[in-house]
Protein backbone atom coordinates (compact mmCIF):
# COMPACT_ATOMS: atom_id res chain seq x y z
CA UNK A 1 0.00 0.00 0.00
CA UNK A 2 1.51 3.25 -1.02
CA UNK A 3 0.68 6.87 -0.48
CA UNK A 4 -0.69 7.46 -3.98
CA UNK A 5 -3.24 4.68 -3.69
CA UNK A 6 -4.37 5.82 -0.27
CA UNK A 7 -4.72 9.44 -1.40
CA UNK A 8 -6.68 8.39 -4.49
CA UNK A 9 -9.02 6.16 -2.52
CA UNK A 10 -9.55 8.87 0.09
CA UNK A 11 -10.72 11.21 -2.65
CA UNK A 12 -12.91 8.46 -4.11
CA UNK A 13 -14.45 7.92 -0.70
CA UNK A 14 -15.05 11.63 -0.32
CA UNK A 15 -16.67 11.74 -3.77
CA UNK A 16 -19.02 8.85 -2.95
CA UNK A 17 -19.72 10.49 0.39
CA UNK A 18 -20.87 13.83 -1.03
CA UNK A 19 -22.96 12.00 -3.60
CA UNK A 20 -24.71 10.09 -0.82
CA UNK A 21 -25.09 13.35 1.07
CA UNK A 22 -26.97 15.02 -1.79
CA UNK A 23 -29.51 12.20 -1.70
CA UNK A 24 -29.59 11.82 2.07
CA UNK A 25 -30.19 15.54 2.64
CA UNK A 26 -33.42 15.56 0.63
CA UNK A 27 -34.65 12.30 2.09
CA UNK A 28 -33.95 13.29 5.66
CA UNK A 29 -35.61 16.71 5.19
CA UNK A 30 -38.74 15.10 3.77
CA UNK A 31 -38.78 12.65 6.64
CA UNK A 32 -38.03 15.22 9.30
CA UNK A 33 -40.75 17.60 8.19
CA UNK A 34 -43.51 15.53 6.66
CA UNK A 35 -42.78 12.37 8.68
CA UNK A 36 -42.85 10.61 5.33
CA UNK A 37 -40.86 7.66 4.01
CA UNK A 38 -40.21 8.33 0.36
CA UNK A 39 -38.75 5.31 -1.43
CA UNK A 40 -39.30 7.09 -4.73
CA UNK A 41 -36.44 9.46 -3.88
CA UNK A 42 -34.14 7.14 -5.83
CA UNK A 43 -36.47 7.40 -8.81
CA UNK A 44 -35.93 11.18 -8.87
CA UNK A 45 -32.18 10.57 -8.88
CA UNK A 46 -32.68 8.37 -11.93
CA UNK A 47 -34.95 10.93 -13.59
CA UNK A 48 -32.28 13.62 -13.07
CA UNK A 49 -29.61 11.45 -14.67
CA UNK A 50 -31.78 10.53 -17.67
CA UNK A 51 -33.16 13.98 -18.36
CA UNK A 52 -29.77 15.67 -18.16
CA UNK A 53 -28.23 13.09 -20.48
CA UNK A 54 -31.15 13.57 -22.84
CA UNK A 55 -30.90 17.37 -22.82
CA UNK A 56 -27.12 17.23 -23.32
CA UNK A 57 -27.56 15.01 -26.36
CA UNK A 58 -30.24 17.33 -27.74
CA UNK A 59 -28.72 20.74 -27.02
CA UNK A 60 -24.99 20.00 -27.04
CA UNK A 61 -24.49 22.41 -24.18
CA UNK A 62 -23.62 20.82 -20.84
CA UNK A 63 -24.49 23.83 -18.70
CA UNK A 64 -27.87 24.25 -20.40
CA UNK A 65 -28.51 20.52 -19.96
CA UNK A 66 -27.70 20.76 -16.25
CA UNK A 67 -30.09 23.67 -15.77
CA UNK A 68 -32.85 22.00 -17.79
CA UNK A 69 -32.24 18.66 -16.07
CA UNK A 70 -32.47 20.19 -12.60
CA UNK A 71 -35.55 22.23 -13.46
CA UNK A 72 -37.39 19.30 -15.00
CA UNK A 73 -36.54 16.98 -12.08
CA UNK A 74 -37.92 19.66 -9.78
CA UNK A 75 -41.11 19.70 -11.85
CA UNK A 76 -41.38 15.90 -11.84
CA UNK A 77 -40.89 15.94 -8.07
CA UNK A 78 -43.54 18.59 -7.48
CA UNK A 79 -46.06 16.90 -9.78
CA UNK A 80 -45.48 13.58 -7.99
CA UNK A 81 -46.00 15.32 -4.67
CA UNK A 82 -49.21 16.98 -5.80
CA UNK A 83 -50.68 13.91 -7.47
CA UNK A 84 -49.73 11.00 -5.24
CA UNK A 85 -47.69 11.79 -2.15
CA UNK A 86 -49.70 14.66 -0.68
CA UNK A 87 -52.47 12.33 0.47
CA UNK A 88 -49.94 10.04 2.13
CA UNK A 89 -48.57 12.43 4.76
CA UNK A 90 -51.33 11.57 7.20
CA UNK A 91 -51.10 7.83 6.53
CA UNK A 92 -48.89 5.40 8.40
CA UNK A 93 -45.42 4.41 7.25
CA UNK A 94 -46.64 1.14 5.79
CA UNK A 95 -48.91 2.91 3.30
CA UNK A 96 -46.15 5.36 2.42
CA UNK A 97 -43.67 2.55 1.78
CA UNK A 98 -46.08 0.64 -0.43
CA UNK A 99 -47.32 3.60 -2.43
CA UNK A 100 -43.82 4.91 -3.09
CA UNK A 101 -42.74 1.35 -3.95
CA UNK A 102 -45.49 1.44 -6.57
CA UNK A 103 -44.12 4.76 -7.81
CA UNK A 104 -40.66 3.20 -8.19
CA UNK A 105 -42.07 0.40 -10.37
CA UNK A 106 -43.91 3.04 -12.38
CA UNK A 107 -40.91 5.32 -12.92
CA UNK A 108 -38.48 2.50 -13.69
CA UNK A 109 -40.82 1.08 -16.28
CA UNK A 110 -41.61 4.49 -17.75
CA UNK A 111 -37.90 5.14 -18.22
CA UNK A 112 -37.50 1.68 -19.77
CA UNK A 113 -40.27 2.51 -22.25
CA UNK A 114 -38.74 5.87 -23.18
CA UNK A 115 -35.05 4.96 -23.29
CA UNK A 116 -34.93 1.16 -23.20
CA UNK A 117 -33.73 -1.21 -20.53
CA UNK A 118 -30.04 -1.09 -21.40
CA UNK A 119 -27.75 1.51 -19.86
CA UNK A 120 -27.47 4.70 -21.91
CA UNK A 121 -24.20 6.45 -22.54
CA UNK A 122 -23.72 9.63 -20.58
CA UNK A 123 -20.81 11.90 -21.39
CA UNK A 124 -19.16 14.99 -19.96
CA UNK A 125 -17.92 17.98 -21.96
CA UNK A 126 -14.24 18.13 -22.96
CA UNK A 127 -13.38 20.84 -20.48
CA UNK A 128 -14.26 18.52 -17.58
CA UNK A 129 -12.41 15.43 -18.82
CA UNK A 130 -8.84 16.18 -17.74
CA UNK A 131 -6.87 15.35 -14.65
CA UNK A 132 -5.53 17.59 -11.93
CA UNK A 133 -1.88 17.05 -10.93
CA UNK A 134 -1.15 16.75 -7.20
CA UNK A 135 2.64 16.33 -7.34
CA UNK A 136 3.02 12.54 -7.16
CA UNK A 137 -0.46 11.64 -8.37
CA UNK A 138 -3.25 12.99 -10.50
CA UNK A 139 -7.00 12.85 -10.02
CA UNK A 140 -9.87 13.22 -12.52
CA UNK A 141 -11.15 16.79 -12.70
CA UNK A 142 -14.77 15.65 -12.95
CA UNK A 143 -14.65 13.74 -9.67
CA UNK A 144 -12.99 16.72 -7.99
CA UNK A 145 -15.81 18.87 -9.30
CA UNK A 146 -18.36 16.50 -7.73
CA UNK A 147 -16.60 16.85 -4.37
CA UNK A 148 -16.61 20.63 -4.78
CA UNK A 149 -20.29 20.81 -5.75
CA UNK A 150 -21.25 18.48 -2.90
CA UNK A 151 -19.40 20.51 -0.29
CA UNK A 152 -20.81 23.75 -1.70
CA UNK A 153 -24.34 22.35 -1.48
CA UNK A 154 -23.67 21.27 2.11
CA UNK A 155 -22.62 24.83 3.04
CA UNK A 156 -25.57 26.31 1.15
CA UNK A 157 -27.98 23.95 2.85
CA UNK A 158 -26.56 24.81 6.25
CA UNK A 159 -27.01 28.48 5.42
CA UNK A 160 -30.58 28.08 4.17
CA UNK A 161 -31.71 25.92 7.07
CA UNK A 162 -30.08 27.87 9.87
CA UNK A 163 -29.95 31.46 8.57
CA UNK A 164 -33.00 32.16 6.40
CA UNK A 165 -36.72 32.57 6.96
CA UNK A 166 -37.47 29.48 4.84
CA UNK A 167 -35.03 27.50 6.97
CA UNK A 168 -36.69 28.78 10.12
CA UNK A 169 -40.05 27.56 8.83
CA UNK A 170 -38.53 24.22 7.91
CA UNK A 171 -37.10 23.78 11.40
CA UNK A 172 -40.34 24.93 12.97
CA UNK A 173 -42.32 22.56 10.78
CA UNK A 174 -40.09 19.69 11.83
CA UNK A 175 -40.59 20.31 15.53
CA UNK A 176 -44.30 21.15 15.60
CA UNK A 177 -46.37 21.07 12.46
CA UNK A 178 -49.70 21.95 14.01
CA UNK A 179 -48.28 25.01 15.74
CA UNK A 180 -46.68 26.32 12.56
CA UNK A 181 -49.95 25.91 10.68
CA UNK A 182 -51.83 27.64 13.50
CA UNK A 183 -49.48 30.61 13.20
CA UNK A 184 -50.71 31.16 9.67
CA UNK A 185 -48.01 29.47 7.63
CA UNK A 186 -49.28 27.67 4.55
CA UNK A 187 -47.97 24.28 5.60
CA UNK A 188 -49.03 22.53 2.39
CA UNK A 189 -47.05 25.00 0.33
CA UNK A 190 -44.09 24.54 2.66
CA UNK A 191 -44.30 20.77 2.16
CA UNK A 192 -44.38 21.14 -1.61
CA UNK A 193 -41.39 23.51 -1.52
CA UNK A 194 -39.38 21.15 0.70
CA UNK A 195 -40.27 18.18 -1.45
CA UNK A 196 -39.31 20.00 -4.63
CA UNK A 197 -36.06 21.07 -2.98
CA UNK A 198 -35.28 17.45 -2.06
CA UNK A 199 -36.20 16.32 -5.57
CA UNK A 200 -33.82 18.86 -7.11
CA UNK A 201 -31.01 17.67 -4.82
CA UNK A 202 -31.71 14.07 -5.86
CA UNK A 203 -31.70 15.18 -9.49
CA UNK A 204 -28.37 16.95 -8.96
CA UNK A 205 -26.89 13.77 -7.49
CA UNK A 206 -28.25 11.82 -10.45
CA UNK A 207 -26.88 14.13 -13.11
CA UNK A 208 -23.47 14.18 -11.44
CA UNK A 209 -23.50 10.39 -11.09
CA UNK A 210 -24.56 9.77 -14.70
CA UNK A 211 -21.13 9.90 -16.34
CA UNK A 212 -19.46 7.83 -13.57
CA UNK A 213 -21.99 5.08 -12.88
CA UNK A 214 -24.30 3.56 -15.45
CA UNK A 215 -27.53 5.34 -16.36
CA UNK A 216 -30.20 2.63 -16.42
CA UNK A 217 -33.62 1.80 -14.96
CA UNK A 218 -33.29 0.82 -11.31
CA UNK A 219 -30.10 2.84 -10.76
CA UNK A 220 -31.86 4.84 -8.07
CA UNK A 221 -32.67 1.95 -5.79
CA UNK A 222 -29.12 0.62 -5.68
CA UNK A 223 -27.90 3.86 -4.19
CA UNK A 224 -31.09 4.57 -2.23
CA UNK A 225 -30.53 1.63 0.09
CA UNK A 226 -27.02 2.92 0.83
CA UNK A 227 -28.62 6.28 1.54
CA UNK A 228 -30.90 4.58 4.07
CA UNK A 229 -27.81 3.25 5.80
CA UNK A 230 -26.41 6.80 5.82
CA UNK A 231 -29.56 8.19 7.38
CA UNK A 232 -29.85 5.45 9.98
CA UNK A 233 -26.21 5.94 10.98
CA UNK A 234 -26.48 9.72 11.02
CA UNK A 235 -29.84 9.95 12.73
CA UNK A 236 -33.13 10.41 10.87
CA UNK A 237 -34.23 13.98 10.26
CA UNK A 238 -30.84 15.55 10.94
CA UNK A 239 -28.92 17.23 8.13
CA UNK A 240 -25.76 17.28 10.20
CA UNK A 241 -26.21 13.55 10.75
CA UNK A 242 -26.79 12.99 7.03
CA UNK A 243 -23.51 14.78 6.26
CA UNK A 244 -21.48 12.86 8.82
CA UNK A 245 -23.18 9.57 7.92
CA UNK A 246 -22.62 10.10 4.19
CA UNK A 247 -18.91 10.77 4.58
CA UNK A 248 -18.47 7.81 6.94
CA UNK A 249 -20.36 5.42 4.66
CA UNK A 250 -18.64 6.71 1.50
CA UNK A 251 -15.22 6.35 3.08
CA UNK A 252 -15.82 2.94 4.69
CA UNK A 253 -17.31 1.49 1.52
CA UNK A 254 -14.53 2.76 -0.74
CA UNK A 255 -11.73 1.80 1.64
CA UNK A 256 -13.25 -1.63 2.20
CA UNK A 257 -13.41 -2.37 -1.50
CA UNK A 258 -9.87 -1.12 -2.07
CA UNK A 259 -7.96 -2.44 0.91
CA UNK A 260 -9.86 -5.24 2.59
CA UNK A 261 -8.51 -7.93 0.28
CA UNK A 262 -4.81 -6.96 0.63
CA UNK A 263 -5.25 -6.57 4.40
CA UNK A 264 -6.97 -9.93 4.72
CA UNK A 265 -4.29 -11.64 2.63
CA UNK A 266 -1.71 -10.79 5.29
CA UNK A 267 -3.62 -12.94 7.79
CA UNK A 268 -5.43 -15.44 5.58
CA UNK A 269 -4.26 -17.59 2.67
CA UNK A 270 -4.50 -15.82 -0.72
CA UNK A 271 -7.44 -17.95 -1.89
CA UNK A 272 -9.35 -17.39 1.32
CA UNK A 273 -8.68 -13.65 1.09
CA UNK A 274 -9.82 -13.66 -2.54
CA UNK A 275 -13.11 -15.22 -1.55
CA UNK A 276 -13.74 -13.35 1.71
CA UNK A 277 -12.43 -9.91 0.69
CA UNK A 278 -15.12 -8.84 -1.80
CA UNK A 279 -17.91 -10.51 0.19
CA UNK A 280 -16.90 -8.75 3.39
CA UNK A 281 -16.30 -5.45 1.58
CA UNK A 282 -19.84 -5.44 0.18
CA UNK A 283 -21.26 -6.11 3.66
CA UNK A 284 -19.09 -3.61 5.49
CA UNK A 285 -21.44 -0.61 5.63
CA UNK A 286 -24.32 -2.76 6.82
CA UNK A 287 -22.16 -4.23 9.58
CA UNK A 288 -21.16 -0.68 10.49
CA UNK A 289 -24.82 0.21 10.68
CA UNK A 290 -25.46 -2.72 13.02
CA UNK A 291 -22.60 -1.64 15.30
CA UNK A 292 -23.77 1.99 15.38
CA UNK A 293 -27.33 0.93 16.17
CA UNK A 294 -26.17 -1.32 18.99
CA UNK A 295 -24.48 1.60 20.77
CA UNK A 296 -26.51 4.58 19.49
CA UNK A 297 -30.01 3.35 18.55
CA UNK A 298 -31.05 6.83 17.36
CA UNK A 299 -27.97 7.34 15.19
CA UNK A 300 -24.86 9.46 15.73
CA UNK A 301 -26.53 12.89 15.52
CA UNK A 302 -30.19 12.41 16.40
CA UNK A 303 -32.44 15.31 15.38
CA UNK A 304 -33.53 17.36 18.37
CA UNK A 305 -37.29 17.09 18.73
Amino acid sequence: MNFVLIAEQTLNGLQLGVMLFLLAAGLTLVFGIMNMVNLAHGALYMVGAYLTTFFYQQTGSYLLAVVLGLASTLVVGIVTELVALRTLYERDHLDQVLATFGLILFFNELVAILWGRAAIFSTIPDYLTGHVEFGVFRYPLYRLMIIGVGLAVAVLLWFVVSRTRLGMLIRAGASNRAMVAALGVNIRLLYTVVFGFGAALAGLAGLLAGPIYSVQPGMGELILIQVFVVIVIGGIGSIRGAFAGALIVGMVDTMGRAFLKPVLSTVLSPTAADAAGPALASMLIYLLMAVVLTFRPAGLFPAVR
Binding site: L94, V97, A99, G102, L105, I225, Y286
Partner: protein, 319 residues
Protein backbone atom coordinates in the same frame (compact mmCIF):
# COMPACT_ATOMS: atom_id res chain seq x y z
CA UNK B 1 -62.90 -23.31 17.90
CA UNK B 2 -66.11 -22.10 16.30
CA UNK B 3 -66.10 -21.57 12.58
CA UNK B 4 -66.96 -18.09 11.34
CA UNK B 5 -68.20 -17.48 7.77
CA UNK B 6 -64.70 -16.31 6.97
CA UNK B 7 -63.09 -19.53 8.15
CA UNK B 8 -65.51 -21.46 5.95
CA UNK B 9 -64.54 -19.34 2.97
CA UNK B 10 -60.87 -20.01 3.69
CA UNK B 11 -61.51 -23.75 4.00
CA UNK B 12 -63.47 -23.53 0.73
CA UNK B 13 -60.54 -21.82 -0.97
CA UNK B 14 -58.15 -24.54 0.20
CA UNK B 15 -60.61 -27.21 -0.98
CA UNK B 16 -60.75 -25.49 -4.38
CA UNK B 17 -56.96 -25.58 -4.53
CA UNK B 18 -57.07 -29.27 -3.66
CA UNK B 19 -59.41 -29.87 -6.59
CA UNK B 20 -57.07 -28.23 -9.10
CA UNK B 21 -54.73 -31.14 -10.00
CA UNK B 22 -57.43 -33.55 -11.29
CA UNK B 23 -59.15 -30.72 -13.19
CA UNK B 24 -55.86 -29.52 -14.69
CA UNK B 25 -55.03 -33.10 -15.64
CA UNK B 26 -58.46 -33.53 -17.28
CA UNK B 27 -57.97 -30.41 -19.41
CA UNK B 28 -54.32 -31.31 -19.96
CA UNK B 29 -53.17 -27.92 -18.59
CA UNK B 30 -50.21 -28.63 -16.27
CA UNK B 31 -49.31 -24.95 -16.52
CA UNK B 32 -51.99 -24.09 -13.94
CA UNK B 33 -50.58 -26.61 -11.51
CA UNK B 34 -47.25 -24.81 -11.76
CA UNK B 35 -48.78 -21.35 -11.41
CA UNK B 36 -50.91 -22.24 -8.40
CA UNK B 37 -48.06 -24.03 -6.67
CA UNK B 38 -46.10 -20.81 -7.00
CA UNK B 39 -49.07 -18.87 -5.63
CA UNK B 40 -49.28 -21.17 -2.61
CA UNK B 41 -45.55 -20.93 -1.88
CA UNK B 42 -45.76 -17.15 -1.88
CA UNK B 43 -48.92 -17.37 0.23
CA UNK B 44 -46.87 -19.24 2.87
CA UNK B 45 -44.23 -16.51 2.78
CA UNK B 46 -46.89 -13.80 2.93
CA UNK B 47 -48.58 -15.55 5.88
CA UNK B 48 -45.31 -15.51 7.75
CA UNK B 49 -44.93 -11.80 7.01
CA UNK B 50 -48.54 -11.20 8.05
CA UNK B 51 -47.72 -12.53 11.52
CA UNK B 52 -45.27 -9.70 12.24
CA UNK B 53 -46.57 -7.04 9.84
CA UNK B 54 -50.29 -7.50 10.28
CA UNK B 55 -50.63 -8.64 13.88
CA UNK B 56 -47.34 -7.37 15.29
CA UNK B 57 -47.24 -4.02 13.50
CA UNK B 58 -43.60 -4.61 12.54
CA UNK B 59 -43.19 -3.33 8.99
CA UNK B 60 -40.45 -5.64 7.78
CA UNK B 61 -39.19 -4.54 4.39
CA UNK B 62 -36.69 -7.37 4.30
CA UNK B 63 -38.70 -10.52 4.37
CA UNK B 64 -37.26 -11.80 1.10
CA UNK B 65 -34.05 -12.47 3.06
CA UNK B 66 -35.55 -15.61 4.56
CA UNK B 67 -36.86 -16.82 1.21
CA UNK B 68 -33.27 -16.52 0.03
CA UNK B 69 -31.73 -18.21 3.07
CA UNK B 70 -34.16 -21.12 2.85
CA UNK B 71 -33.42 -21.46 -0.85
CA UNK B 72 -29.65 -21.22 -0.38
CA UNK B 73 -29.73 -23.78 2.45
CA UNK B 74 -31.31 -26.33 0.09
CA UNK B 75 -29.21 -25.26 -2.90
CA UNK B 76 -25.85 -25.29 -1.11
CA UNK B 77 -26.45 -28.67 0.55
CA UNK B 78 -27.53 -30.02 -2.85
CA UNK B 79 -24.33 -28.58 -4.34
CA UNK B 80 -22.32 -30.75 -1.93
CA UNK B 81 -24.37 -33.83 -2.84
CA UNK B 82 -26.65 -33.83 0.23
CA UNK B 83 -30.19 -34.30 -1.06
CA UNK B 84 -31.88 -35.55 2.10
CA UNK B 85 -35.03 -33.43 2.32
CA UNK B 86 -35.46 -33.58 6.10
CA UNK B 87 -31.90 -32.36 6.57
CA UNK B 88 -32.16 -29.70 3.82
CA UNK B 89 -35.45 -28.27 5.03
CA UNK B 90 -34.37 -28.52 8.66
CA UNK B 91 -31.27 -26.49 7.87
CA UNK B 92 -33.39 -24.04 5.84
CA UNK B 93 -35.70 -23.44 8.81
CA UNK B 94 -32.89 -23.37 11.36
CA UNK B 95 -30.66 -21.02 9.39
CA UNK B 96 -33.56 -18.65 8.70
CA UNK B 97 -34.46 -18.63 12.38
CA UNK B 98 -30.86 -17.87 13.36
CA UNK B 99 -30.52 -15.02 10.87
CA UNK B 100 -33.91 -13.67 11.94
CA UNK B 101 -32.68 -13.80 15.54
CA UNK B 102 -29.57 -11.79 14.64
CA UNK B 103 -31.39 -9.22 12.50
CA UNK B 104 -34.31 -9.09 14.91
CA UNK B 105 -32.12 -8.59 17.97
CA UNK B 106 -30.97 -5.30 16.45
CA UNK B 107 -34.02 -4.16 14.53
CA UNK B 108 -36.88 -5.09 16.88
CA UNK B 109 -35.51 -2.65 19.45
CA UNK B 110 -36.32 0.13 17.00
CA UNK B 111 -39.66 1.04 15.50
CA UNK B 112 -41.31 2.98 12.72
CA UNK B 113 -39.10 4.14 9.92
CA UNK B 114 -35.91 2.86 11.55
CA UNK B 115 -37.32 -0.66 11.55
CA UNK B 116 -38.28 -0.39 7.87
CA UNK B 117 -34.89 0.90 6.79
CA UNK B 118 -32.88 -1.52 8.94
CA UNK B 119 -34.69 -4.64 7.79
CA UNK B 120 -34.31 -3.44 4.20
CA UNK B 121 -30.61 -2.72 4.64
CA UNK B 122 -29.80 -6.10 6.22
CA UNK B 123 -31.60 -7.91 3.44
CA UNK B 124 -29.62 -5.93 0.91
CA UNK B 125 -26.47 -7.00 2.74
CA UNK B 126 -27.43 -10.66 2.32
CA UNK B 127 -28.27 -9.99 -1.32
CA UNK B 128 -24.79 -8.60 -1.95
CA UNK B 129 -23.32 -11.52 -0.02
CA UNK B 130 -25.14 -13.88 -2.39
CA UNK B 131 -23.81 -11.96 -5.39
CA UNK B 132 -20.21 -11.99 -4.18
CA UNK B 133 -19.91 -15.72 -3.44
CA UNK B 134 -18.60 -17.04 -6.75
CA UNK B 135 -18.61 -20.63 -5.52
CA UNK B 136 -22.41 -20.70 -5.57
CA UNK B 137 -22.79 -18.94 -8.90
CA UNK B 138 -22.55 -15.33 -7.71
CA UNK B 139 -24.75 -13.06 -9.74
CA UNK B 140 -26.01 -15.83 -12.05
CA UNK B 141 -27.05 -18.23 -9.32
CA UNK B 142 -27.01 -21.96 -9.81
CA UNK B 143 -29.22 -24.84 -10.81
CA UNK B 144 -30.64 -27.17 -8.22
CA UNK B 145 -29.55 -30.54 -9.60
CA UNK B 146 -32.06 -32.67 -7.72
CA UNK B 147 -35.20 -31.82 -5.80
CA UNK B 148 -35.15 -32.60 -2.08
CA UNK B 149 -35.53 -36.34 -1.40
CA UNK B 150 -37.99 -37.68 1.13
CA UNK B 151 -38.87 -41.25 2.10
CA UNK B 152 -42.59 -40.67 2.15
CA UNK B 153 -43.07 -38.49 -0.94
CA UNK B 154 -41.47 -38.01 -4.33
CA UNK B 155 -41.21 -34.30 -5.19
CA UNK B 156 -40.46 -35.11 -8.82
CA UNK B 157 -44.10 -36.07 -9.06
CA UNK B 158 -45.57 -32.64 -9.77
CA UNK B 159 -48.97 -33.47 -8.28
CA UNK B 160 -47.47 -34.92 -5.09
CA UNK B 161 -45.31 -31.81 -4.71
CA UNK B 162 -48.42 -29.68 -5.26
CA UNK B 163 -50.30 -31.41 -2.45
CA UNK B 164 -47.33 -31.16 -0.12
CA UNK B 165 -47.21 -27.39 -0.71
CA UNK B 166 -50.96 -27.20 -0.11
CA UNK B 167 -50.61 -29.12 3.16
CA UNK B 168 -47.81 -26.82 4.32
CA UNK B 169 -49.89 -23.79 3.37
CA UNK B 170 -52.82 -25.08 5.44
CA UNK B 171 -50.40 -25.73 8.30
CA UNK B 172 -48.91 -22.22 7.99
CA UNK B 173 -52.31 -20.51 8.03
CA UNK B 174 -53.41 -22.59 11.01
CA UNK B 175 -50.13 -21.95 12.82
CA UNK B 176 -50.41 -18.19 12.40
CA UNK B 177 -54.07 -18.31 13.41
CA UNK B 178 -53.34 -20.30 16.57
CA UNK B 179 -50.36 -18.14 17.47
CA UNK B 180 -52.30 -14.93 17.04
CA UNK B 181 -55.13 -16.15 19.25
CA UNK B 182 -52.84 -17.45 21.97
CA UNK B 183 -51.67 -15.47 24.99
CA UNK B 184 -48.44 -14.84 23.07
CA UNK B 185 -50.38 -13.41 20.12
CA UNK B 186 -52.49 -11.22 22.37
CA UNK B 187 -49.37 -9.61 23.81
CA UNK B 188 -48.02 -8.96 20.31
CA UNK B 189 -51.27 -7.37 19.19
CA UNK B 190 -51.53 -5.37 22.39
CA UNK B 191 -48.02 -4.02 21.83
CA UNK B 192 -49.00 -3.02 18.31
CA UNK B 193 -52.05 -1.06 19.38
CA UNK B 194 -50.56 0.57 22.47
CA UNK B 195 -47.04 -0.13 23.63
CA UNK B 196 -47.19 2.09 26.70
CA UNK B 197 -50.28 0.36 28.08
CA UNK B 198 -48.80 -3.04 27.34
CA UNK B 199 -45.79 -2.11 29.44
CA UNK B 200 -48.04 -0.68 32.13
CA UNK B 201 -49.84 -4.00 32.61
CA UNK B 202 -46.51 -5.72 33.01
CA UNK B 203 -45.42 -7.03 29.62
CA UNK B 204 -42.12 -6.13 28.05
CA UNK B 205 -42.90 -6.33 24.30
CA UNK B 206 -39.31 -6.91 23.15
CA UNK B 207 -38.96 -10.69 23.79
CA UNK B 208 -42.45 -11.33 22.41
CA UNK B 209 -41.79 -9.31 19.29
CA UNK B 210 -38.40 -10.93 18.79
CA UNK B 211 -39.94 -14.40 19.16
CA UNK B 212 -42.60 -13.52 16.56
CA UNK B 213 -39.89 -12.16 14.26
CA UNK B 214 -37.92 -15.43 14.54
CA UNK B 215 -40.98 -17.65 14.01
CA UNK B 216 -41.92 -15.56 11.00
CA UNK B 217 -38.39 -15.83 9.57
CA UNK B 218 -38.31 -19.61 10.09
CA UNK B 219 -41.66 -20.07 8.34
CA UNK B 220 -40.54 -17.91 5.45
CA UNK B 221 -37.33 -19.96 5.27
CA UNK B 222 -39.48 -23.05 4.74
CA UNK B 223 -41.25 -21.20 1.91
CA UNK B 224 -37.79 -20.49 0.45
CA UNK B 225 -36.93 -24.22 0.55
CA UNK B 226 -40.18 -24.91 -1.32
CA UNK B 227 -39.52 -22.12 -3.80
CA UNK B 228 -36.08 -23.40 -4.82
CA UNK B 229 -37.55 -26.87 -5.32
CA UNK B 230 -40.31 -25.30 -7.40
CA UNK B 231 -38.03 -23.27 -9.68
CA UNK B 232 -35.11 -25.76 -9.57
CA UNK B 233 -32.96 -22.65 -9.75
CA UNK B 234 -31.38 -20.36 -7.22
CA UNK B 235 -30.25 -16.78 -7.59
CA UNK B 236 -29.58 -13.83 -5.27
CA UNK B 237 -32.69 -12.30 -6.90
CA UNK B 238 -34.71 -14.33 -4.38
CA UNK B 239 -33.48 -11.76 -1.84
CA UNK B 240 -33.90 -8.69 -4.02
CA UNK B 241 -35.57 -5.81 -2.22
CA UNK B 242 -38.38 -5.74 -4.80
CA UNK B 243 -39.27 -9.26 -3.68
CA UNK B 244 -39.67 -7.96 -0.12
CA UNK B 245 -41.89 -5.20 -1.49
CA UNK B 246 -44.02 -7.74 -3.36
CA UNK B 247 -44.49 -9.82 -0.21
CA UNK B 248 -45.65 -6.70 1.63
CA UNK B 249 -47.97 -5.85 -1.21
CA UNK B 250 -49.50 -9.35 -1.08
CA UNK B 251 -50.29 -8.92 2.60
CA UNK B 252 -51.86 -5.49 2.07
CA UNK B 253 -53.68 -6.41 -1.12
CA UNK B 254 -55.17 -9.52 0.47
CA UNK B 255 -56.12 -7.78 3.69
CA UNK B 256 -53.77 -7.06 6.54
CA UNK B 257 -54.12 -9.11 9.73
CA UNK B 258 -56.59 -11.62 8.29
CA UNK B 259 -56.11 -15.37 7.90
CA UNK B 260 -57.22 -15.50 4.28
CA UNK B 261 -55.47 -12.26 3.29
CA UNK B 262 -52.01 -13.60 2.40
CA UNK B 263 -53.47 -16.34 0.19
CA UNK B 264 -55.86 -13.92 -1.54
CA UNK B 265 -53.09 -11.35 -1.96
CA UNK B 266 -50.55 -13.81 -3.33
CA UNK B 267 -53.14 -15.22 -5.73
CA UNK B 268 -54.29 -11.78 -6.86
CA UNK B 269 -50.79 -10.40 -7.40
CA UNK B 270 -49.31 -13.43 -9.17
CA UNK B 271 -52.38 -14.01 -11.32
CA UNK B 272 -52.46 -10.31 -12.17
CA UNK B 273 -48.80 -10.48 -13.19
CA UNK B 274 -49.59 -13.52 -15.29
CA UNK B 275 -52.55 -11.82 -16.95
CA UNK B 276 -50.68 -8.58 -17.62
CA UNK B 277 -47.79 -10.50 -19.14
CA UNK B 278 -49.90 -12.78 -21.30
CA UNK B 279 -52.96 -10.80 -22.30
CA UNK B 280 -53.21 -11.47 -26.00
CA UNK B 281 -56.03 -8.95 -26.58
CA UNK B 282 -53.69 -6.03 -25.92
CA UNK B 283 -50.70 -5.11 -28.05
CA UNK B 284 -47.59 -6.86 -26.80
CA UNK B 285 -45.33 -3.86 -26.44
CA UNK B 286 -47.85 -1.82 -24.49
CA UNK B 287 -48.62 -4.37 -21.83
CA UNK B 288 -46.61 -7.53 -21.77
CA UNK B 289 -43.19 -5.92 -21.83
CA UNK B 290 -44.08 -3.19 -19.39
CA UNK B 291 -46.54 -4.78 -17.01
CA UNK B 292 -44.67 -3.35 -14.03
CA UNK B 293 -45.85 0.11 -15.10
CA UNK B 294 -49.46 -0.96 -14.59
CA UNK B 295 -48.61 -2.90 -11.47
CA UNK B 296 -47.06 0.24 -9.99
CA UNK B 297 -50.18 2.29 -10.69
CA UNK B 298 -52.43 -0.43 -9.28
CA UNK B 299 -50.30 -0.58 -6.16
CA UNK B 300 -50.60 3.15 -5.57
CA UNK B 301 -54.37 3.03 -6.15
CA UNK B 302 -54.85 0.08 -3.77
CA UNK B 303 -52.92 1.85 -1.02
CA UNK B 304 -54.81 5.11 -1.53
CA UNK B 305 -58.32 3.76 -1.93
CA UNK B 306 -58.67 0.10 -0.90
CA UNK B 307 -57.25 -0.02 2.58
CA UNK B 308 -59.00 -3.16 3.78
CA UNK B 309 -57.76 -5.31 0.93
CA UNK B 310 -59.57 -8.19 -0.72
CA UNK B 311 -60.47 -9.80 2.61
CA UNK B 312 -62.40 -6.62 3.37
CA UNK B 313 -64.89 -7.74 0.72
CA UNK B 314 -65.59 -10.99 2.58
CA UNK B 315 -68.49 -11.20 5.05
CA UNK B 316 -67.75 -10.78 8.74
CA UNK B 317 -65.45 -8.50 10.64
CA UNK B 318 -61.74 -8.06 10.16
CA UNK B 319 -60.02 -9.98 12.95
Amino acid sequence: MSMTPRSWILVGLLALLAAVPPVAAYFDAPFYLDLLRRVMIFAIAASSLNLILGYGGMVSFGHAAYLGIGAYAVGVLGYYGIHNGCLQWGVAIGASALVALAIGAISVRTSGIYFIMITLAFTQMLYYLGISIEEYGGDDGMRLKLRSEFDFINLNNETAFYYLVLAILAFAILLVHRLVNSRFGRVIQAARSNEARTRAIGFSPYPYRLAAFVISGALCGLAGALLVNHTAYLTPEFMNWTRSGELMFMVILGGIATSAGPLLGAAALLLLEDVLQGWSLLPKEAVRDHWQLYLGVILVLVVLFARRGLAGLLPGKNE
